[in-house]
Symmetry: C2
Subunit: 330 residues, 2 copies
């Protein structure tokens, strides 16, 4: 990797503040929620679901923003591109990124549309079910991609959730072109198998043409290639990407190289899994940090395991401990 | 206690959203903060302190509001009086109270003054240091006291923090008169020994004339009576109040009756003390719940111990488990 660039990773995503509540499983059914999935909701639904929810805790979130915080916790230099409003939750979102050491250009010019929220229901099995009201993050488009920032990073990272909106997809296409032109790598997380189902063709085209490093879980990579056979998905993804990191939950992860080599990575032990929110986001942070330090694929995966284990051991989707120290890097 | 009243407890206090961050001890010195104390701050200081703080978690707080949530978690019927703005944090505050089952009349009419915030720094010893930007909660005055609500409760409860503002003091004087006229009890928490120091005469006058049940820790009750001898403070408080519940941290609490009888109450064991924010608030909730159920003083103290132990075992000042169940009451 070129190390002369001032930034290690730049992330693009939906900027959201998480509102986290704990509920029993029957709550999901009462509110017509699909366990483990992310669903986009409109204002009306956001109001009614919030009213039905128990007391909450608010924490800055957003998939790619969580990943950037993880990279920063490892000691990486990051920036984030996403839209918040000039309101209290936007202020909180910007504060938390900057306090973590992630560059962020801050609230968009004044608008009546509020900062987006992700209503997260954590069930007793530690699974999270997410309902996202995008708010102003929905306005992210190509004009919001700061070309200088993207060109200055070794790796561009994007969350698949952006694929739900054509303008965001255009923003990512633009960012990917800028990154490649500047000699950087382009990485993508598939985010959610339902999201892949909704936009399979667009994802497939992007992965085949622009993605160097892909993050996914088994369900997502199988959904992408329309197969139920994991081995088939692995061989297809090896044709498209330099590296694919496939997470397997408690079974760890595998890293597939373009050469076809497959590295198995064990999961880090966790005394008690409290909240799986952010597991994939933080796995990606460790992997990306390792990548920018020129570490071999299996070691990148190990750093991913360390970060994922930390974030699922407490409520919330961002690390609450120093990941460099946890990984024995400091 | 008369049980025909529709409400058990009504609380009055500064309505605040807590912003909680973890920092090492040196941060307190760098920011000129006094460990364990609550300091009122203006807008400018709130902005600079927030900028210096690490990433935060936002949770509804406010001392008396925390206590009402605790009473509700035991199964009590409560209402809360305090002022929030018609903004995002005000919405969060109102949601969390109602979702807990506490009656709350909701945001005040539109104003430019934002909802108040309490910036809480938790150090590795689990101590919390609080800097409060009152925001719109500062506007609480006698007109905000809904006489019908106060008269409908068995017990009125107020936090001592209100004593920093004359209008709030007037509001509490009015509420106390309404409560007594309706045959209810009046209770007060001294909140903070620095707060008692600032307003000793006003506190003494109120305790002597209006307070039936007093909550304090040893430092606060000694500050109130200007003595360093705990035994002297106990005998003085017995002259003023029907009951005084004095918390002693890890050593539990003592309940002093007007008769002079003193009941020692042990603390509930806690595997790990994580964050002491809300310990006094939640002790009061258990005690008040027991009081409204006609339980003897030592049993009221035991319920206080159960609630305090729960809240110091996790981050945040409101219970995250059902207190009735923890106390073996359901």
């Amino acid at each position: 990797m070129p190390s002369s660039k001032p930034l290690d990773v730049v992330g693009i995503g939906n900027a959201l503040v998480d509102v986290i509540t704990t509920q029993v499983d029957s709550f999901l059914e009462e509110c017509s929620l699909t366990k483990g999935a992310m669903m986009l909701i409109d204002t009306e639904r956001a109001v009614s679901l919030y009213a039905a929810m128990g007391p909450g805790v608010e924490m800055s979130g957003g998939s790619a923003a969580n990943t950037m915080c993880g990279v920063a916790s490892f000691g990486g230099r990051c920036a984030y591109i996403g839209k918040v409003s000039n309101d209290q939750l936007g202020e909180v979102f910007a504060h938390d990124l900057r306090a973590t050491g992630v560059q962020f250009s801050g609230p968009s010019p004044a608008t009546d549309i509020p900062t987006g929220r992700c209503l997260i229901v954590v069930t007793p099995d530690a699974q999270r079910t997410m309902s996202t009201y995008l708010g102003v993050s929905e306005l992210l488009g190509p004009d919001d991609v700061d070309e200088a920032v993207v060109a200055s990073a070794q790796v561009l990272y994007m969350e698949g959730y952006l694929w739900d909106r054509p303008e965001a997809m255009a923003a990512y296409r633009k960012a990917a072109a800028v990154a490649h032109r500047a000699g950087g790598l382009v990485s993508l997380s598939l985010s959610d198998s339902f999201c892949v189902d909704r936009h399979r063709d667009a994802f497939l085209d992007l992965v085949a043409t622009e993605v160097d490093v892909l993050f996914a879980n088994e369900a997502e990579v199988c959904a992408l290639y329309g197969t139920e056979k994991v081995s088939e998905a692995y061989s297809k993804v090896a044709e498209h990407c330099d590296l694919a990191a496939i997470t397997l939950g408690s079974k760890g992860s595998v890293v597939v190289e373009r050469s076809g080599d497959v590295h198995e990575v064990v999961a880090d032990p966790v005394p008690e899994v409290v909240d799986t929110t952010g597991a994939g986001d933080l796995y990606a942070s460790g992997f990306l940090y390792g990548l920018t330090r020129g570490l071999p694929p299996a070691e990148c995966g190990r750093l991913g395991s360390v970060a994922a284990a930390e974030v699922i051991s407490h409520v919330g989707a961002r690390p609450s401990a120093n990941l460099a120290r946890l990984a024995g890097l400091d």
